[in-house]
């Protein structure tokens, strides 16, 4: 189903990636749990767009539900600019990233603002054709509206089969509610 949606949205600014729920790279799964809160029963798969601004779990009318989530996300404006320079060095990638805050709030640890780097491979490892090989993150110390911060991130994806099919996502998110509630994506870029 997810791969069918990937084909359906091939011409749109959307990427579909899959993590191992028992050993998820980076801290992205924390966004799902932050959006969920507590209580109730949760079933696989856990799905989120915009860092948890919308989530889903368990058996649903997959195509209809996921399509609605994506379409809603596509209608939302970006709130940051990202310029990314990626260079492969041996079996790792070096990222030089410029993040400009286009929102109206200062990004900082007070609202859990972070920059994420996710590396995935076009490979059918589990259920879909895009498997996350590595992910990491950096805190955003203090970035007022309109200001730009630079980051250098090195990441070494594990288990790559074909380096020509390795892609990356750089994503900035924050928690609008401060220390509670769902996170939200400011912007992401894909290479």
């Amino acid at each position: 189903m997810v791969d069918q949606l990937a084909d359906e949205y091939a011409d749109d600014p959307v990427v579909f990636i899959e993590y191992d729920v028992d050993n998820p790279a980076g801290n992205r799964i924390n966004r799902w749990w932050a959006a969920w809160g507590s209580g109730g029963s949760v079933y696989l798969p856990l799905i989120m767009v915009d860092s948890g601004n919308q989530i889903s779990n368990g058996s649903v009318a997959f195509a209809q539900r996921y399509r609605a989530m994506i379409n809603a996300a596509l209608q939302r404006p970006a709130a940051a600019r990202l310029e990314v320079d990626r260079e492969r060095v041996g079996n790792s990638f070096q990222f030089d990233i410029a993040l400009t805050n286009a929102s109206d709030v200062t990004l900082s640890p007070a609202n859990s603002a972070m920059l994420h780097v996710i590396v995935y491979e076009e490979a059918h490892v589990a259920d879909t054709d895009r498997w996350v090989r590595a992910a990491t993150y950096r805190s955003i110390s203090s970035l007022p509206p309109g200001e730009t911060a630079s980051f250098s991130v090195e990441i070494a994806p594990q288990g790559v089969v074909d380096w020509d099919k390795v892609h990356s996502i750089v994503l900035a998110d924050y928690r609008p509610g401060g220390s509670t509630g769902a996170y939200d994506t400011l912007q992401a870029v894909h290479e």
């Binding site: 997810v2 990636i17 899959e18 191992d20 915009d50 589990a126 912007q187």
Partner: protein, 268 residues
């Protein structure tokens, strides 16, 4: 007042001096306006410092290219000033409105102007400065005209002067004071054209706007211009002149949001 040889030799002379002082008075008139108003402009020019000065004043007529404008030349003794009363009519024998361009031929000059409603019971005037040409608004930046009103009591006219020899596109976004965009008005200015858009808010809304502002920008590379608003009391004909102020550089539009669909599944 000649358009021909005098203008030619002045151009040659000014060019030979290089970087000669040039001033713009964005609005001047000898005409009748809305609500029974009768508009006149007095121009005052002074020789700067202790040196004599001479200058040309050119009329950039409204709604036309002004490659060869009407012009006149005056001389000033050291320290002297000169008032050109009803300058549009008395100097150029022109009925209508436009902008004035002053060029120092000798020495340096200072200039001011007053455009007023010539009411039989007394005049109501607005001071209109003479701006250095270098102060013109430019491509890549946005400018704001604020303290605008449009209602039964007030109307807002906005005006522009193209200070270049190329056609220029302008966009005027009209907002309420609470930053609600009411609509946009485009304008095209031919070389050195002056254009005033009367009662501009009525082009985007039928509602009264007690307090609003306009954001002005040009999409034309190299575009330079002056922008102003004139807010007129509909009852008295009293007007205030509001010059454009720099709002800031035009921001690069944000790229569309890139959506990341993340699935956490059980491997194996």
């Amino acid at each position: 007042m000649t358009r021909s040889l005098r203008a030619w030799w002045l151009v040659v002379l000014v060019a030979s001096l290089g970087g000669a002082q040039e001033l713009y008075v964005p609005a001047a008139a000898h005409n009748s306006g809305a609500a029974g108003t009768v508009w006149r402009t007095d121009l005052e020019v002074k020789a700067k410092g202790d040196a004599p000065a001479s200058f040309t004043v050119e009329l950039l007529e409204e709604r036309t290219a002004n490659d060869d404008p009407l012009s006149a030349t005056f001389s000033l003794e050291p320290g002297a000033s000169l008032r050109l009363v009803d300058v549009v009519d008395e100097v150029f024998a022109f009925e209508g409105s436009g902008a004035l361009r002053l060029s120092a031929v000798e020495g340096e000059i200072l200039a001011t102007s007053r455009t007023y409603n010539n009411d039989p019971n007394g005049t109501y005037g607005q001071y209109i400065p003479a701006f250095e040409a270098e102060a013109a608004a430019e491509h890549g930046y946005e400018y704001v005209l604020m303290q605008l009103s449009s209602s039964a009591s007030y109307r807002t006219n906005v005006g522009f002067v193209n200070t270049t020899d190329a056609t220029m596109e302008l966009e005027i976004d009209l907002y309420t004071a609470s930053a609600v965009l009411l609509g946009s008005v485009p304008a095209t200015l031919r070389p050195y054209e002056m254009r005033q858009i009367p009662n501009i808010f009525t082009q985007v809304t039928s509602q009264a706007v007690d307090d609003g502002y306009a954001i002005v920008r040009t999409s034309t590379q190299g575009g330079r211009y002056f922008a102003y608003a004139s807010v007129v009391d509909n009852l008295s004909g009293d007007a205030i002149f509001i010059p454009a102020q720099l709002e800031g550089p035009i921001g690069t539009p944000l790229a569309p949001r890139f959506v990341v669909f993340e699935a956490f599944m059980r491997y194996g």
